[in-house]
């Protein structure tokens, strides 16, 4: 490895060579529910229940590559860390924002490269990464957090993720002390317990001669209520509120028999049963050997219950025998004694077993369903607009001034 050629990784963009190098952050994808992030260091191992993976094996591979474990028991995918993946793997220090809210807020605030923005509080840095990516390379994020330990952790992450050039992180209680930024930003996002306390300072932070947008993120309607009053008081206009949720669909393939097909199946079973009864073979034994094919009327219900998810559907359809017509074929199969391995002795039962399975291929239907439980509410997203006309004194200040002026000038009115 020539050390000089290593390209520094940033979560805000991709690497040109798209190759894993020493010092890179890489997302270990085991499954949707099981992902983690590592920093590649020669000589180290990533261990999980699906095996052990040498970091040195990863170096030089293209991102997205499937990697088998050293023990040969499992494999994983090596993914490039994007802000979206970071949201899924980051260590939670607080409640975090997820993709539905992150996306909608960024779109509404019209974030794009080159803009400046305030975020408060930083929390676990989930949203910060998405913002930084979108403002890069020349924009800037000012992010505020009043919890010192969270500040330290976020600072380290921004450095390790190649974002520190475009992120200014400050430990500060903005509700008490304000942002100390004036005429500086295009957009503001407030995720605070009491956003209304930060509105006055937010107003000053906006670039004063252009339009700007603010979003406050609050779980409770009471918080919204107080924030509306504050925004209104400070001259913000176009106050709007949204809720946004994503529904994740589960996809399944379910078999759909027509009633005729089902009856045909039933008839075949009955026919078989009728043939089987005069023989002196114990029914239990027969069932055990044959498995599903002779397990009477339960058959349809059973296979219908399987509801193979898409993954398995290949298998199951491949395993299924071609659709056979009933009845007449039976004689053929008896004479040739085909296919199905007969484990039992050569009793008369074998004749019945040798009969080709009465598989009727149902029509498969692809369906979706929503998981029984899903996110129902995150927070209310309230937006307002700062306009060049917003600058100046707040409503109460104007009223007070007007009252004072009226009082002083009441006597010598025109």
């Amino acid at each position: 490895m020539s050390e000089t050629a290593v390209e520094k990784q940033s979560f805000a963009t991709y690497k040109k060579n798209n190759t894993i190098e020493e010092g890179d952050n890489v997302v270990m994808y085991l499954s949707k529910e099981n992902m983690s992030i590592i920093r590649v260091k020669d000589g180290e191992y990533f261990n999980c229940k699906f095996g052990s993976y040498k970091h040195s094996d990863m170096i030089g591979l293209e991102y997205g590559t499937k990697l088998g474990s050293n023990t040969g028991r499992g494999f994983l995918y090596l993914l490039y860390p994007t802000p979206e993946l970071w949201t899924l793997v980051l260590p939670h220090r607080t409640q975090i924002l997820y993709i539905a809210d992150i996306s909608f807020v960024m779109n509404y605030l019209n974030l794009k490269p080159g803009m400046s923005m305030i975020e408060s509080g930083t929390g676990s840095g989930s949203f910060s990464h998405s913002i930084a990516r979108t403002l890069a390379p020349h924009g800037h994020l000012y992010t505020f957090e009043y919890h010192q330990e969270r500040v330290n952790a976020a600072k380290k992450e921004f450095e390790e993720h190649g974002l520190s050039d475009m992120v200014t992180l400050r430990c500060r209680d903005v509700c008490k002390d304000g942002f100390e930024l004036e005429d500086k930003v295009d957009a503001i996002f407030l995720d605070l317990p009491a956003p209304w306390e930060a509105v006055a300072s937010a107003k000053k932070a906006f670039k004063q001669n252009k339009v700007g947008k603010i979003c406050t993120f609050s779980p409770c309607i009471e918080q919204i209520s107080r924030t509306v009053t504050a925004l209104n008081e400070h001259g913000f206009v176009d106050i709007q509120m949204y809720e946004c949720l994503i529904r994740f669909n589960e996809i399944r393939v379910i078999p759909m028999w027509t009633i005729d097909e089902a009856m045909e199946k039933q008839r075949a079973i009955e026919k078989k049963r009728k043939r089987a009864t005069p023989r002196v073979v114990p029914a239990d034994n027969n069932n055990a050997q044959e498995g599903e094919s002779s397990s009477s009327s339960g058959h349809i219900n059973k296979s219908a219950k399987v509801e193979p998810s898409v993954d398995d559907s290949n298998q199951s359809s491949a395993a299924a025998t071609p659709n056979s017509t009933t009845g007449s074929e039976m004689e053929d199969s008896v004479s040739t004694t085909v296919s199905t391995p007969v484990i039992g002795s050569e009793t008369t039962a074998s004749a019945a077993e040798a009969e080709p399975r009465e598989r009727i291929e149902p029509k498969n239907v692809v369906v979706t369903r929503l998981p029984a439980e899903q996110r129902g509410h995150t927070s209310y997203l309230m937006f307002a607009t700062f306009t060049p006309a917003t600058q100046g004194p707040s409503l109460t200040e104007t009223k007070a001034a007007a009252a004072a002026a009226a009082a002083s000038s009441s006597a010598p009115a025109k």
Binding site: N18, L30, G64, T65, G68, N107, T229, Q240, M241, A389
Partner: protein, 474 residues
């Protein structure tokens, strides 16, 4: 004061959305020196807003269509009163002004002799039961009348959001029902950023291309594949993009991806040295068109796209099959469709595709609320569909050892050991002949041999299919 960008001010010749008191939005191209009619809300002069910053509202206040910046008074708090609607009966005579009176007021308003607020006040004063209404009802009444008689308009800057909202409300089928929230999620999943390279099939009239281009800020490349004579990216023109941003959008017709056998370069068709006048002009036109196509082909065949985004009327799988090879590893692949059902088969196809990881079908839900101090509640009507997204990640499939059973693994190890032994024997034989062989090299070579052995055993087709199955189960 912070310095203003050209995009921060309203420029002549640009598209502008005008929001009217009724909350309706009108789209105009702002021509310098022109008058813009807003119907019953009056007329304003384009020059009054050209050169000013976006964001302010304007009030038409004079008979000469004069405008001034409107300072909204803010929303007033509602004070609880003891009023209720027990005494209120449906009685058209409670408004003492006749229809003709109101018409007269309106025309005075149009002439600029009365402001909107004055008209609303007159209506309120001549309303017999206004005082009996609850505070909420009073506020609602004033708001409703205000929407009719105020003469305040707000120029709205076209952005991906505002353009999307405008068309979604007005003509959703034009943009294939893609709603602002769904589009925002598409932008996130695509990880679009300044400087990236995207492959797009966009049948939303360019809504998606516009939003992507905005997020790239003039750096990077979007290659849009289109069918028909032209890429119908109508939406792009509403975005007021500068040339730098427009230049990031490249297009290529599906028919021109591969050079047809009979296609000739302009130089093959004509000898440029022999051309004059009109013919020469024609040659240069053809050359330009030819070079554009050649450039787009080059961009496509160089591959390494940072995302593939498909929002097509055609079967998505057929498109993915063709375009997936051009996408780099660990990059998002996104399919948008107005209906979820159209993506179901694609989704099962994706699960079977070894180059795609974790397909996920999502729909978005968005609800807007009225927020007024003390009067906050969800709006009476909400949006239905906003389209569906199917997202996955392009991966590089490799047969891995994980797929082997214990017996197979042992067999493989045995084979490797034999290969190693064989190689060592061969090397020893070689080193015996050439005495100059360095001793230190041997272990390295042996390791290499082992790796080679491993790869040969693992490329077995059955193993591969099993490994895919394993992957899917996870």
């Amino acid at each position: 004061m912070a310095a203003l960008n050209p995009t921060d001010i309203i420029n002549a010749g640009e598209h502008v959305f005008i929001k009217m008191p009724s909350d309706n939005v009108k789209c105009i191209v702002l021509k310098a020196g022109s008058s813009v009619s807003l119907g019953k809300f009056g007329t304003f002069k384009a020059n009054d807003i050209i050169g000013h910053a976006w964001g302010n509202s304007y009030e038409i206040y004079d008979r000469d269509s004069k405008t001034r910046v409107y300072h909204p008074e803010g929303i007033s708090e509602v004070e609880e009163t003891a009023n209720n609607n027990r005494e209120i009966v449906d009685d058209p005579t409670s408004q003492k002004l006749t229809l003709d009176d109101i018409k007269a007021l309106k025309s005075e308003g149009l002439k600029g002799e009365l402001t909107g607020e004055e008209i609303v006040n007159k209506l309120k004063e001549s309303h017999a039961t206004f005082d009996k209404k609850t505070a909420y009802s009073q506020a609602k009444y004033l708001q409703k009348k205000g929407k009719k008689f105020h003469k305040v308009f707000t120029p709205i800057k076209p952005t991906a959001y505002s353009v999307n909202e405008y068309f979604y409300v007005r003509n959703p089928s034009k943009i294939r029902d893609i709603r602002m929230d769904t589009l925002s999620q598409l932008l996130s999943y695509s990880n679009v950023h300044s400087g990236c390279k995207l492959l797009v099939v966009d049948d939303t009239q360019g809504m998606i291309v516009s939003a992507l281009a905005e997020r790239m800020g003039g750096r990077g490349t979007i290659l849009g594949l289109y069918d028909g004579d032209n890429p119908h990216y109508d939406i792009v023109k509403y975005m007021n993009f500068n040339q730098e941003t427009l230049d990031t959008i490249k297009v290529l017709s599906w028919l021109r991806i591969h050079r047809p056998a009979d296609e000739k370069t302009p130089d093959e068709m004509q000898d440029v040295t022999q051309l004059t006048g009109k013919d020469l002009e024609g040659y240069h036109r053809r050359l330009k068109a030819y070079n554009i196509v050649e450039e787009s082909r080059k961009i496509l065949f160089e591959g390494n796209f940072d995302a593939l985004i498909v929002a097509s009327q055609y079967q998505p799988e057929s498109i993915l099959e063709k375009l997936l090879p051009y996408v780099a590893g660990s990059r998002p692949v996104i399919v948008y469709h107005g209906t979820k059902e159209a993506l179901l088969e694609t989704s099962t196809w994706m699960r079977r595709c070894p180059d795609l990881l974790a397909p996920q079908l999502t729909e978005s839900w968005l609800r807007k609320s009225q927020v007024l101090p003390g009067r906050t509640h969800p709006e009476m009507s909400t949006w239905g569909t906003g389209g569906s997204l199917l997202t996955a990640t392009k991966v590089i499939d490799q047969p891995v050892q994980a797929a082997l059973t214990k017996r197979e693994r042992l067999a493989m190890e045995k084979k490797n050991a034999e290969a190693k032994k064989l190689k060592r024997a061969r090397e020893e034989a070689e080193s015996a002949t050439s005495s100059a062989a360095a001793v230190g090299d041997i272990p390295d070579e042996a390791v290499e041999g082992e790796e080679e052995g491993a790869t040969t055993t693992m490329t077995d087709g059955a193993d591969e299919s099993r490994s895919i199955k394993r992957a899917k189960q996870e």
